[in-house]
């Protein structure tokens, strides 16, 4: 039976892949608050399901496989799906930003861009938006939950969310405003950024995220992989304490690779009320 289930999932994936090739998509450009234009991919604008916005992880783009394939899946499930790429200070950024690049962006700018995209999607679809964030994308969504009213959201689903790990320079943080220093953040061992920008990410920790999720006016669900090494041992307990719907895919890693990808889709679809 297990073999049959895997076969069915593979067959489903193949069908989705074929359908994705014919699915319509458009690139949307919005000028952000800093004046820097950013782009997003909008799939299945005519979908009848709840509009979904999927936000990518740390320094990534909407083309990150986990994000792209999930967007395609949901578009195929008749959801209008918007996948923005945070500008991170780069006009129309299309590439993942290297750790060693200069990082002048901060979490607030990211949340601001997220808000702009939520507004755009809400206005476009005239429906509350389901926010899905992968990894650090969940950090911006939880901060968005804390800052913005829930009227434009229907549900929040956070995939592989984990508290950020940051480290200040050994020689001490720079004191001058706008002065760059090599911090360490998330998986970046060398992360040139300013003190303010660093702390905007580093200081939005587990407590802040758990509080945001606990206080959220919309349902918050968290999908984690059973084998995600980035998850701290007590993170599941904290999530459960926050009252979120916690779904764990056994054996899946941080990016839900391989067959775990479909289990992720199953869970997302379940959370969105679909049949899959």
């Amino acid at each position: 039976m297990e073999v049959r289930g895997q076969f069915e999932r593979w067959l489903l994936g193949l069908v989705l892949l074929v359908l994705s090739m014919v699915a319509t998509a458009e690139t949307v450009t919005l000028e952000m608050g800093s004046g820097v234009p950013a782009t997003a991919e909008f799939r299945n604008a005519d979908g009848s399901g709840d509009p979904v916005l999927i936000l990518h992880g740390f320094l990534q783009t909407r083309d990150f496989p986990t994000v792209r394939r999930l967007a395609e899946f949901l578009a195929d499930e008749d959801h209008p799906v918007l996948t923005p790429t945070l500008s991170l200070g780069v006009p129309k950024r299309s590439q993942s930003l290297k750790c060693e690049a200069i990082h002048t962006h901060d979490l607030d700018q990211d949340v601001d861009e997220l808000a702009r995209w939520v507004d755009w999607l809400y206005q476009r679809m005239q429906k509350p938006v389901v926010l899905i964030g992968h990894s650090a994308g969940g950090h911006a969504i939880t901060r968005y939950l804390a800052r913005y009213p829930a009227s434009r959201m229907k549900r929040v689903i956070l995939i592989s969310i984990a508290p950020p790990a940051g480290r200040t320079p050994a020689a001490g943080e720079p004191q001058g405003k706008g002065e760059l220093a090599d911090y360490a953040l998330a998986y970046c061992r060398r992360y040139p950024t300013t003190r303010g920008a660093f702390h905007s990410y580093a200081d939005w920790g587990a407590k802040q995220m758990i509080d945001a999720m606990a206080k959220a006016a919309v349902p918050v669900s968290v999908v984690i992989g059973g084998a995600d090494e980035r998850l701290e041992p007590d993170w599941r307990a904290l999530l459960q304490k926050a009252g979120v719907t916690l779904l764990e895919v056994p054996g899946a890693g941080h990016f839900f690779d391989d067959e775990h990808e479909f289990e992720l889709y199953d869970n997302i679809d379940t959370l969105l009320g679909g049949d899959a």
Partner: protein, 748 residues
Amino acid sequence: MARFSLSYRRYAAWLTALVVFVYGLFGWLVYQQYSEAKQAFEQSEREAAQRELDVLLQRALDALERRADELAQWDELYQQLANPVYFTYWYAHRIKGGHEVPPPFEALMLYDVAGRALGKETASPLPRTLAEREPTMIFNPAGSDVQVFLVRPLRRAGEETPQGFLMLSARLLPNVKRGQAFVRVDPTSLRFSLDGSTREPETLRRALTYQPRRSDSVREGDRLVRRMLFFIGLLVLLPTLGLVYFFIYLIGRNIQHMPEVVSALRQAQQSGSSVVLPSPPSGPRIRELEEAEHSLLEYQRELTLANRQLDKKNRELWSLAHLDALTGAQNRRAFENFWETLQSLGERERRSLRLMLCDVNHFKAINDTYGHDVGDGVLKAIVACLQKAVRRGEQLFRLGGDEFVSVLLDCDDSQATAVASRCAAEVARYPFRETLGIQEPVRLSIGISPATSDARTPLNRLLRQADVAMYHSKRPSSGTITLYRESLEQASGSIFSSSVNEAVYRAVETGEGLHLLYQPVRMLADNRIGYYEALLRVRHEDGLLTPAQIMPVIESRHLEKELDQAVIDALLRALYNGVIPPETGLSLNLSAASISSESIVSRLDAFRPFLPGLKIVVEVTETALITRMKEASSNLMRLRNQGFRIALDDFGSGYSSLRYLTSMPVDVVKFDISLISALDQPAHYRLVTHLVEFIGSSGHQTVAEGVEDEQTLERVREAGFSLVQGYLTGRPQALRPRGPGQLIVRPA
């Protein structure tokens, strides 16, 4: 013409040189062909290398442009354009120290939309301002390399206006070489020689120099051809040299054996011993040379046998050459050899000697009369007599005919005369009548000449002196033996002088100098001229030669028939010229040889037209013994039948007067002058008278010769002769030709 000849070693050396030359020529031709093909191939390779280099250069330029286009979409560039606050930091960490610039490029610079470089100070070698606004590629010379500058407007997809500009620079050669497969071009040889800045790739292409990579196939071809020529050379030269050495060894050993064989044969030939052949060389032998050796041995045997036979024949030949087969005496050649030996000995010791020459009086007449067998018997008897008479050790030689000579050594005139006397005596005592039937006495005439045994006395002169002396002995008034002295030379000079000989020969051969006198023969009854006797003379610088001077020359050379022929021709001319008066006649003397000769007798036919008017008398001298009596009689009979008269001349002075008279058709008998001159003797007169009566009664006319006075003429008349001839009745005279117009007698 000398034939070309070389030793076999030299031939082998030439053969080897020829092989080496031919192979060298072959190798050179092959290598020439290969070189031409290689040059064509290398030309093709150069063209291919140029094409390859063009492709590689274009590929490098395309790669640079492609990389520039890719880099122009790098987000961080747009990040810096949007917020150039941290450009210096970014440039220092991300560009210079961050290794973010793609490897082909060495420098990078960002410019704002106005073309101003971002940041205030950077270490970039690129210019601070940019005039270009379109994608551009500029090439600047940089030593042997080219610095490529690429300009790209930085704009996102769908944007019209660029957000800024990017300039990149790179060294071209490393990019041409990097990651490209050079097949025909040596990448280390690439050099640019660009004169100035350009944007034209074609100019760039022309400025790129290179060396084609030496093709492996060419190198391999070179190696293969050289190796092929080397191994073929070995295959040709080594066997050739081996064969040449083998043949030198084989042929040389066998050929060198041949001289040893020949040497052994020569040694055996010289020593007369049997042939001891050297042992043949070891190892293989050559059949042809073995056969040649066998042939040589066989030839040697045959040669030895032939030599022996030749020796025998030589001995026989020597005998034949040096001994007279008839008499057993040594011959003239032996005499000449003996004389040479004597002269060579005389060079050491001069010896006085005498040359004794003798012959048999009237031997030819004896021979003709009694036949050759008797003549041969006479010669054998003479030799026996002479050998008995000469002293011990003195040799007798037969020079030819009836002439014999002996060299009397250590001898003076008296001793020589004594030897000669013994010789004459021995011959005189020999019983020729009893043994050979010869009625007439056989006598010798001997001449002796003094000499010395040195080379200063030529043999011919000695023989001539002895000959002169011997001929002197033949004179009626001389003795049997005559010692040579110079006075004899003068006496006989006319006979033997070369001028006399020449005059006689010329007269015989051409008729030039031949002179005829005519002596009338008168009829005693009425003193009319019965006929003229033609008498022969020969003109000579000293006057006319008489028969006494002419005939010894003729007889010594046996020119009797030739002389008669000349006389006949002269007489015919005289007859045609009307020399002979009509109603007379002409008599001519013929030798014994001519009478027996058919050609001479036939020649007399030319006289026949004159016979009706003239009396033509053919005189045959009784003293000349006729050898071929049968033919002579037949010819005379033939002439007589044709109308000729036959006269027997000198009747009574010879051997067989009556025999001739009875056996030959004679019309006229001319009594010898010795009979006429003796008519004053009564006994002789009676005998002659009876003879004239007897002969006349036989129907013959008789002629008395030598009548020079009236008394003799009277006696002749009384004796009953019918015709008379002599100075009294008519001297020999020349008759003037009367010319053809005055000819009374003409040929019928």
